[in-house]
Amino acid sequence: MTLEVCELSVHAGTHPLVRGVSFGVGRGERVGLIGESGSGKSLTASAVMGLLPEGLAPTGSAKLTGAELIGAPERELSRRRGRDLAMVFQEPMTALNPLMRVGRQVAESIRLHRGGSRRAALRAAVELLDAVKLPDPEQLARAYPHQLSGGQRQRVMLAIALANDPALLICDEPTTALDVTVQAQVLDLILSGVAERETALLFITHDLAVVAKVCTRVLVMYDGRIVEEGSTSDVLTRPSHDYTKKLLAASDLEAA
C-alpha cells in the first residue's frame, strides 16, 4: 500500500472540515476522489502534502510507503515532496512563476532532489518536456509561462510532478480549467506517466466522466466524510449512497 490514510481529519479551530477519512492507494493503482466543491477533497490532498493553509491543523495518519506524513517535521516533508510525492494543481495559469522560464522551473525540481549541474538538469528538463509531448521542447524550455497555452502549461506541471519518479501523484482537478479537446490529451499523458513509473495516483475531480476514464477505484466524499467507495464501475452503475445517486443523476453520465 503506497498511501495509507487513517482517520485523517482537518479542523479550522473547532469546526471540522475533513472528518476521519480513511483510504488506501496501492502501487500503480488509480483512485478517484469525487464530490462537489466544499466536500473536503482538496483539503484532504493538501493535508497529505503537508501544505494546508494557515490556521488549519491535520490530525490522524497518512503514511507514504510506511513513513508518516502528518505531523512530520517540515525538513523531512520538504525532502519527500517533489521526490516521493507530487501534486498537479487546478489552475495552470497561476501555478507557474510568471517571471521564470519554463525549462528552469522544471529543472529546479530535478536539481533539488538529484543535484547535479544546472546544464545537466536543464537537459533532463528538456527530455521531460518532450516526454509530455510538448512541441519543440528545447525552444519551449526558454519560454515564459504567459507564452504557453493552458494545456501546455498543465503539461509542464505534469513534467515537474513526474520529474523524480514519485511513488504517489496527486492531481487536483487538473483538467477542469482546460478546453474539452485539450483535456483528453492531458488525461492520456497522466495515465501513461503513472503507468510507466508504477506511480500511485490519487485523482480529485467533480467530473464523473473523467473519473470513469481515469480511475479504477472511486471514493465519494461529502461534507468531509467518505460516504461510499468501490470500483469505478460498481460505484457509477450501482451506487448505494443517496448522495452518490444524486451526483450521478446530476451528471451527463449514462450507465455504461
Binding site: R79, E91, A95, N97, P98
Partner: protein
C-alpha cells in the same frame, strides 16, 4: 519591444520640453525687474534699460525662451543676474552633492525596507510582524528634518561621533566625506525606509498568497527558499514602481535635509537663489530637478519591463 522604447523616449522628450516651457513661463510671470534687483534702488533709468538689454530681457518672450533652452542643451545655463557668474558649473557641482545624498539615502532606505518589509509580511499574523508595521507607521509620521535634528543632537552634539554638518568632497578626503554623509543619509533613509517597508510588506504579502509559491513548496522547497527564489522577483515589480515615485520625494526631502546639515547641494542653492531673487538660477535649478524626476520615472518604466517579461511582449 523597440517600438515601446522609442515611444517612451518620445514621451520623455516631450515632457521635458513642456516642463521647460512651464518653468520658463512661470519665471517670466514674476513681478519685479531683474535689472532692478541686480543694480539696486539707485540705478538710473538709462542704466536700467541698458542692463535689461544686456540681460536680453527686451527681446520677445519666445526668443528668450529659445535662447535659454538652446544654451541649456549645450550645458550653458547663462549667467546669474545677481552674481554675474556662470550658473552651469555651480549647478553641476551642487547636483553632485545632492545626488550623493539622495543615493545614500535610497541605499539606507532599501537596506532597511527589504528585509523588514519581507519579515513583516511573513510574520503578518505574529506579534513581530505587527511590531514592524507599527514602527514603520511611526517612521512615516516623522518628518525627515526632525529625524535630522534629533540625529545631530544625539550623534554630533552629545556623543561627538559624527560631524553636525558640512561637506567634504569624496576625492579630497574619503573618510571625512563618508562621516559627513552618514547622518544626512540616515535622516533621509530612515523615513523613506519606513515608507518603503510598508510597500514591500504588501507586495510580499500579495506574493505569499500566489499559487506558484504553492507549486514551489510542492516541489520540495522549504518556505524561505521558496520565497527567495520565486517570490522576491515577483514582489519586486510593484516595489520598483513605487521606487520611482519615492525618488522624487527623496529629491525634495534632500532639499530640507541640506538645510539641516548645511550641505552645499542643489536644494540649498535653490533656496539661496530664491532669497536673492536670482531668477535665472532658480529657473535653471528647477528645470534640472524636474528633468531629474522625469528621467527617473522613465528609467523605472524601463526597469519594469526588464523585470517582468510579460510587459516586454505587447506595448
Amino acid at each position: 519591444m523597440v517600438v515601446a522604447i522609442v515611444r517612451r523616449v518620445a514621451i520623455l522628450v516631450i515632457s521635458v520640453l513642456v516642463a521647460s516651457i512651464v518653468v520658463f513661463a512661470f519665471m517670466a510671470v514674476l513681478p519685479g525687474d531683474p535689472a532692478q534687483v541686480a543694480l539696486g534702488v539707485n540705478a538710473t533709468p538709462e542704466l536700467l534699460a541698458k542692463t535689461r538689454q544686456d540681460f536680453g530681457l527686451d527681446r520677445p518672450l519666445v526668443e528668450q525662451y529659445l535662447s535659454w533652452m538652446g544654451g541649456v542643451l549645450h550645458g550653458d545655463f547663462g549667467r546669474s543676474y545677481v552674481t554675474g557668474e556662470a550658473i552651469g558649473p555651480q549647478l553641476l557641482d551642487r547636483l553632485g552633492v545632492t545626488l550623493w545624498l539622495v543615493g545614500a539615502g535610497m541605499l539606507v532606505a532599501l537596506v532597511l525596507a527589504v528585509p523588514f518589509g519581507a519579515l513583516a509580511a511573513v510574520w503578518h499574523r505574529r506579534s513581530g510582524g505587527t511590531a514592524i508595521s507599527g514602527l514603520s507607521q511611526l517612521g512615516v509620521a516623522v518628518p525627515a528634518f526632525l529625524a535630522g535634528i534629533l540625529l545631530v543632537q544625539v550623534f554630533a552634539v552629545q556623543l561627538r561621533w559624527l560631524p553636525s554638518g558640512g561637506w567634504t568632497p569624496p576625492n579630497q578626503d574619503t573618510g571625512e566625506f563618508l562621516r559627513g554623509l552618514i547622518l544626512p543619509a540616515l535622516s533621509l533613509g530612515l523615513v523613506q525606509g519606513a515608507v518603503l517597508t510598508r510597500y514591500v510588506r504588501s507586495a510580499v504579502l500579495d506574493t505569499l498568497g500566489q499559487d506558484y509559491l504553492r507549486t514551489a513548496r510542492s516541489k520540495g522547497l522549504r518556505p524561505y527558499p521558496a520565497l527567495m527564489r520565486h517570490g522576491l522577483r515577483n514582489a519586486a515589480v510593484p516595489v520598483v514602481t513605487v521606487l520611482g515615485l519615492q525618488l522624487a520625494t527623496l529629491l525634495i526631502g534632500a532639499v530640507v535635509v541640506e538645510r539641516v546639515f548645511v550641505l552645499p547641494g542643489l536644494g540649498s542653492m535653490l533656496l539661496d537663489s530664491v532669497s536673492a531673487r536670482d531668477l535665472l538660477s532658480v529657473q535653471g535649478i528647477v528645470l534640472v530637478l524636474v528633468v531629474a524626476v522625469l528621467v527617473v520615472n522613465f528609467v523605472v518604466d524601463l526597469l519594469y519591463a526588464v523585470i517582468d517579461p510579460r510587459l516586454r511582449a505587447a506595448r
